[in-house]
């Protein structure tokens, strides 16, 4: 309760101060409730307040974006999504502080878009602007013509946020014996040596837009190093697995890639690819003592955006491929996914029909997301939607078959 009171007081003080300083305030309040098809239970009961405080000048600007999530009746989650300062010069800008960075041309898929880690505590269901986590970074953009060179230094590593045990999105790992966890090597001490570095060249031209990127980063997902303990079966006198010691640890990754977007006869053609050097994968190879092996990895996408009459359509094909694959690796050699989006705006853009789907081609599963939004006026809207998980229970989407739900979001923007 003390924390909640403190947050409230700080927001009130901030509100008074910003009024005095003529700071621009915008944001939204949102009520979001979802009911699981299987049980009729509420899968989510969430109230959100999103505030943007912004002050812009010719030479300097700042933004603070606190976000408050109230889950169920009394579980408060306060996040400072962004808090940064901008400095503007003739040919370059500097942004210092906590910020979200978005790269690439893909929609709903993260290939070169790896600067800001993801918050996957509700899987891929939050709006894409809410799924990214801010990183504390210094970003420099140098501009020449229609090109931009962007350099980012992140001294404080932020990992992917996973659903905690107890969450409907938490998947219990399947181990043959109860493991012992050692988290001593999971944290990364902030230092210059442990910083992440990202570079990107962007060109926006008449014929084509493209980006070329490189990164020396940490894998946002920890590698699970596994030490096995064996004993003798008292009956058969054969060696059997008696214990597992699991040590999560983040490893360095060197990544290179790029993306492009161009219009051909009214169709937007997009592509994006990233090459990961030495990514760790779990393996059952007995010659790998800690259950992992390093392989290069390719992740790419091609996509089309086009109109069919008044309906906006978009489709993407995504492939993840482990290079120099061996059969002991637990992941598939290649995993193919498609996305599909159809959108139709009616009644003078006050009624919006949308269908978005991830379709797992490898595991024959899917997440289907129909939704309908009605804008009562320019600031107030209601959304009715559904998240439908179907297909193979071992698939990325099919595993959440019990979490299919219908939901409603009521949003007031200001």
């Amino acid at each position: 309760m003390k924390t909640k009171g403190l947050i409230l007081i700080l927001l009130l003080i901030a509100g008074q101060y910003t009024r005095a300083q003529n700071i621009d305030i915008s944001g939204f309040a949102r009520s979001y409730e979802g009911i699981l098809f299987n049980t009729g239970d509420f899968g989510i009961v969430q109230q959100t307040l999103n505030l943007n405080f912004e002050k812009r000048g010719n030479k300097v600007a700042f933004k603070a974006n606190p976000m408050i999530y109230l889950y169920n009746a009394d579980s408060l989650d306060f996040r400072m999504r962004e808090l940064y300062l901008d400095l503007y010069f003739d040919n370059f800008d500097i942004r210092i502080g906590k910020q979200q960075v978005v790269w690439g041309k893909a929609d709903g898929v993260f290939i070169t878009d790896i600067v800001s880690p993801l918050n996957l505590t509700e899987f891929l269901l939050p709006d894409f602007d809410e799924i990214r986590t801010g990183v504390i970074a210094t970003k420099v953009n140098y501009y020449f013509g229609n090109s931009t060179l962007e350099a980012i230094l992140i001294p404080v590593f932020t990992p992917t946020e996973r659903p905690p045990p107890g969450s409907i999105w938490y998947i219990q790992p399947d181990f043959p014996v109860t493991p012992t966890w050692d988290f001593s090597r999971e944290a990364i001490t902030p230092s210059l040596e442990s910083s992440e570095v990202f570079l990107k060249y962007t060109a926006l031209t008449s014929a084509i837009d493209f980006e070329i990127m490189g990164a020396y980063t940490w894998d946002d997902n920890p590698t699970l190093h596994v030490q096995k303990e064996f004993g003798l079966d008292p009956n058969t006198q054969q060696p059997i697995l008696t214990g597992l010691n699991i040590t999560p640890e983040h490893h360095r990754l060197a990544i290179g890639g790029g993306s492009f977007s161009s219009e051909i006869k009214g169709v937007i053609v997009r592509g994006e690819a990233a090459y990961y050097n030495g990514k760790y994968f779990l393996t059952e190879d007995p010659l790998q003592p800690d259950g992992n092996i390093q392989k290069d990895y390719l992740h790419y996408l091609v996509g089309l955006d086009f109109n069919l009459g008044p309906v906006k359509l978009s489709s993407q094909f995504i492939q993840q491929s482990i290079l120099n694959y061996d059969d002991h690796i637990l992941n598939e050699k290649t995993e193919n996914t498609m996305t599909f989006l159809a959108r139709y705006d009616m009644l003078r853009e006050t009624l919006h029909l949308e269908l978005f789907s991830y379709i797992g081609l490898t595991n024959e599963d899917a997440l289907i997301r129909p939704k309908i939004t009605y804008d009562f006026d320019d600031s107030f809207s209601i959304l009715l939607g559904s998240n439908i998980f179907v297909g193979d229970e071992k698939g990325r989407f099919g595993q959440y078959g019990d979490n299919s739900m219908a939901y409603m979001k009521i949003k007031y923007s200001f």
Binding site: S26, F28, R56, D86, Y88, D93, Q100, V101, V102, K105, D127, F128, D129, N141, Y143, N146, T148, T202, L204, S206, D209, S261, S262, E263, G266, V267, I268, D305, F306, N307, P310, K312, R343, D345, R348, E349, T350, H352, D375, D377, D378, S379, S381, S413, F414
Partner: protein, 261 residues
């Protein structure tokens, strides 16, 4: 997020009904009249605030506010718009490059929530702009050779002697069967335009309410488009208009789209 996809800057509505204050004594053909309307001076650059008010048949209103900049670079005209309201599209920006040649427009939109600049298709000319009564085609530059123009008659409208010119698209799939435009004979400014649908029924009427001379260039500052079939109308009012202020080409870049106003 509401859909925002815009063709050539909304300021082009001011263009579409055109200018050219020179008058010749000889009789003109429909094509020559429309050519004079289209080929009017607009200045090297323009800045303005745009307020668009949508009114439905019940009288309920919705208001959109935009800050826009345009610049003529010779072979390409660049424009950039920053959406100020409503709240859910605030800080969204849109950039359009229109080419003198037959090359299609290049268009990008920056969505602040997604922090992403996206190239979008300029293929949706018949879509309505932000729920208004203006289609993207209504707001964009139409080329003289796209239509067959015929002078129908000369008559007085609101006390102004006008040419009445009928324009029929050469493209059979065009959204309008024909348009009729009343053009003030004294200054070649269009004062009214009727749009007929594919069934040859009157669909919309565009009326020019106010015209101002700014930096020696005529600019339509208040216009209304009324859909007579749905009894819905949209007014566009321009204010804080500045012309030939020496805008920099660097204004029309991704950097500015993302930075905002």
């Amino acid at each position: 997020m509401k859909k925002i996809k815009i063709t050539t800057a909304v300021i082009a509505i001011i263009v579409a009904m055109g200018f050219i204050p020179e008058v010749t004594g000889q009789s003109l053909t429909g094509k020559q009249i429309i050519e004079k309307v289209y080929n009017r001076p607009t200045g090297d650059d323009q800045t303005s605030d745009l307020t668009m008010t949508l009114t439905n048949k019940s009288g309920n209103q919705r208001v959109r506010k935009i800050k826009q900049f345009t610049m003529d670079l010779g072979d390409v005209e660049k424009s950039i718009m920053f959406f100020l309201s409503p709240a859910d599209v605030k800080n969204t920006s849109f950039m359009n490059w229109t080419y003198e040649s037959d090359q299609g427009d290049d268009q990008w939109i920056y969505l602040p929530a997604l922090k992403k600049t996206k190239r979008i298709s300029s293929d949706s000319k018949s879509d309505y702009f932000m729920g208004s009564d203006f289609t993207y085609d209504d707001l964009g530059d139409r080329k003289l050779e796209d239509d067959t123009h015929q002078l129908l008659r000369e008559e007085t409208l609101d006390g102004k002697a006008c040419y009445v010119v009928e324009s029929v698209s050469k493209d059979e799939d065009y959204m309008y069967f024909k348009t009729l435009v009343w053009i003030d004979k004294t200054n070649f400014i269009g004062v009214q335009k009727e749009f007929y649908d594919e069934d040859e029924d009157l669909l919309k009427i565009l009326s020019i309410k106010e015209v101002e001379k700014i930096s020696n260039i005529w600019v339509i500052t208040n216009s209304e488009m009324k859909n007579v079939q749905k009894n819905h109308r949209t007014t566009i009012v321009l204010s804080s208009i500045q012309i030939n202020t020496g805008l920099s080409a660097s204004k029309f870049t991704e950097r500015m789209m993302m930075r905002g106003l």
